[in-house]
Amino acid sequence: MRPFTYVRAHEVGTALAEAEADSRADFLAGGTTQLDLMKDGVLRPDRLIDITRLPLHGIEERQGALIVGALVTMEELAADPVAGRRLPLVREALLRSASVQLRNMATIGGNLLQRTRCRYFRDPTVAACNKRDRGSGCAAVHGSHRTHAVLGTSEHCIATHASDVAVTLVALDAVVHISGAAGDRKVPLTGFYRTPGDTPDVENDLRPGELIAAVEIPLLPEGARSDYLKVRDRSSYEFALASAAVAVGLGADRRIEWARVGLGGVATVPWRAVEAEAVLTGSPADGEVFASAAAAAVAGAEPRPQNAFKVDLAQRTLVRTLQTVTGAGS
């Protein structure tokens, strides 16, 4: 590892100033992504700005939303009573993530910004990675890509966004609170992430030197039914091959009044399946509707030889989740 400067910021303003002063600086939160990538030689910052002492640790219920400070750990949010009651799918997604040791270190801000698990991105001895080095090519397209994305891909990058909780947050219309030297702003999470296109190195809307300060998660209405289902090769401690975040409101006539659907493990960004929501909204909760919603969700999929099964698996995962939350259609 090459030497770098380490600074610890205690105020948001200092952190932002430090970042502005050095274009080769990275923020350090829990470090569970950042330090791994530095050890592997993928990230080589000159300066690490430790933000863990910033006053961004609170969880607050305000006007029908939970405002979660960027430095709240995954485990803290999972243990939050309001989240447990009003956002059970968020809690579920968190508890199905990583391990308890990691969740005790990892922060919500860091989780949203975690980098892909693509082994070509994470191995700098592989030359072709547009995400690391724009224009260098994509080794995964013709390499090993069983775990790679089928939605939101381009010929330049098929790396999966691996976050679980972000899938629930895009489904819930969460909003990211961003602080920058030029001021603060709010961006809906659905508009925050960037599909790779021909610039896979640009992953989100964050501008150089900006910080995520908090995430605002609208609470589900009382009576909403929701779940997060994660399907993977082993039972625990693995990223999703496919996952589904679902929240619905079910009318007395067992019609779906509203629906929110997110898909994980299959897309280059945490995926909001608006096409599926359109099919579900106003339709009866039954197997046929679930199947067509699932088909709509993956209509734009671009499978490759080793990950073609994900198109099928994503649909089955979504159908199962809809069955679970509605108690219908199985």
């Binding site: 082994r119 090993s144 090769d233 089955r316 199962r320």
Partner: protein
Amino acid sequence: MTTISRPRLIGPGINRVDGPLKVTGRAPYPNDFAYPGMVHAVLVRSTAGAGRITEIDTTAAERSPGVVSVLTHLNAGPLARGPMTPLGVSPPAPLQDDAILHYGQIVAVAVAETFEEATEAAYAVRVGYADEPAVLDLDDPRAKVRTNPWGRDADRGDVPVALAGAEVVVDETYLTVDNTNNPMGPLTTVARWEGDTLVVNNSTQWASLEGAALAAAFGIPEESVHVVAPYVGGGFGAGLRVWQHVVLAALAARVTGRPVKLVLTRPQMFTACGHRPKGRQRVRLGATREGALVAVQHEARTASAVDDDNFEPTASVSATAYACPNVITRDVQARLNVPVPNSMRGPGTATGNYALECAMDELAYRLGMDPLELRLRNDAAVHPPTGLPWSSRAHKECLERGAELFGWSRRTHEPRSMREDGLLVGYGLAAVGYPWFRARCSARATIRRDGTAYVCSAGTEIGNGAYTVLVQLSAEALGLDPGQVTFGLGDSTMPMAPQTGGSSLTGAVGSAAHEACRALVGAFTDLVADDGDSPLRGCTADDVEPADGALRRRDDPAVHESYRDILARHHRPDLSADGESTPLTADELGMAPAGAFGAKYVEVRVDPDLGRIRVARALSVIDGGRIVNEKTARSQIIGGTVGGIGMALFEETVSDPGSGRIANATLGDYIVPVNADIPDMQVEFAGSWDRANPVGTKGIGEIGLVGLAPAIANAVFHATGRRIRSLPITLDQLL
């Protein structure tokens, strides 16, 4: 051969004698050794899959902070290759020329004051390659192919005629993938030169071989290499060869004149210290309608590296598995541009048994017969190739006892006929046998003035419980309490021992220790032969038996004398004796020496929509001969079971098409089972004292893993009606 009075079949499950040291962090693993002035070595590996190095620029690396030396093929100097071993040739000597044989081959070593500095310097080494297309496919016509590479091919009777005449035939092909051993402890070498003597602390399963190979590499006498490895953080076979990095650590120590520490990183563990090679097997079985096997033809094609002949006899499993008059087994090795493979727990046997036992299940279904019944009907009551009686065999007992414990009779024969909680339920079984292997071994036993004993041999403890069972066997042979015996292992200056491999260590070192202890009893009787003050005067070793720290007359147990009294009266600080054990051949024994046998029963639950597979129960009934320690033996079997579940459902070393770069060389990406994947594992021991060695044991280090993959594959078929003929079985195959 002298045998002592027989203790019961299953010995007491005493706690590991090295447990307290290990859990308090005081057991010195290779990684724990450090010496003044020690520097750190980090490997640079090829990013070409085949071809040549065209240039190698170390200027920047040499200027990098803290760097002491950068070694490449241009400055390494000549190193000789290690010796031929029963497991194949030693790996090629490192850094000898510009040839690239596989992606990840070691092309340079950076040595620096700290690990971090060496890592940074390693990044800075620039290497240019002239790439050639890598040969990676088992069927690539460019691959060099060796037939009958281990001389194990079997021919019995007339298979073509028997197959043609068989009433029922199965002819199927099974695929297995590369698996990587991945012991928890990354392989580590700490090397230093004391004058002309090379001292290494190393992760090895074979200290004696290590000495010979390093002596060969540097052209020095074997006595000038001292290997010290009292504890090794697991191996599963990874420590059975003297790998290139071991030689390079020693070279770096010589070049720099400083002690050198080299720890493989986890990604390097996938290319530098072996793996279970991929293969393809075709199995043809012919049977009568009543289920009597009339023909078995088993052909296996297994990968190896370009310059390697890794011992992986796979098809030969079928030569001894069942009573069948007509048998052909054929092993073929295809040499590819891949890292050197190596034994991985149950080498050859785990894969060969997988194909055979899946085919047996398929045969049972073609016959409409209970798979258990088919196995029982074809039991090899005698050793099939020779017709000799086995030295012990409780195979039928394992199958029958297993069926009873497991509740096999609750199984309904039709696939997809059992369900619970919305899940498909499947029961599967596999019969297993593990080949007998034993090598010559020596040991030395000493009793000291205080009545305690020290016994030693150069075998290695790799987490298997060796210290504990060897203490137990020695204590028994000397009539001492286990607490009075210390065992020494893992030092090449101790009496020669073979590898901790082939499930042979307890048999080899245990027998040698037994002989040494017997010889020591003889040394005591010799000492008092003319001793007028000893009640044992005139006794030979055969006239006495050891008990309670003393020797007593067999014909009159009331007459005895303690070791302490004898030593004190003779003014001896201690008394020692050497022992050696040489395995007897089948001819000498008049029996076929038997390895362990067993039966594996598995229940799986499969989600019919999502394809998720869970192993709900796993039962192993093992005939391991005499079980010295119930607890460590059980641990061997449950550890093997976890490995077997990994092989069946999770583990696959994926490599990139074209280059052979390993695409999942981390423990995050190479999937092994986690606790939540592991069910309740039941282990039961059956059988009797084995007659092939004086301590009555059979090896149980590997049989725990063997048979899980076919039992699971068969259970998945029973649950779903889907016959998946490749490993690992993953949910995408069941959608």
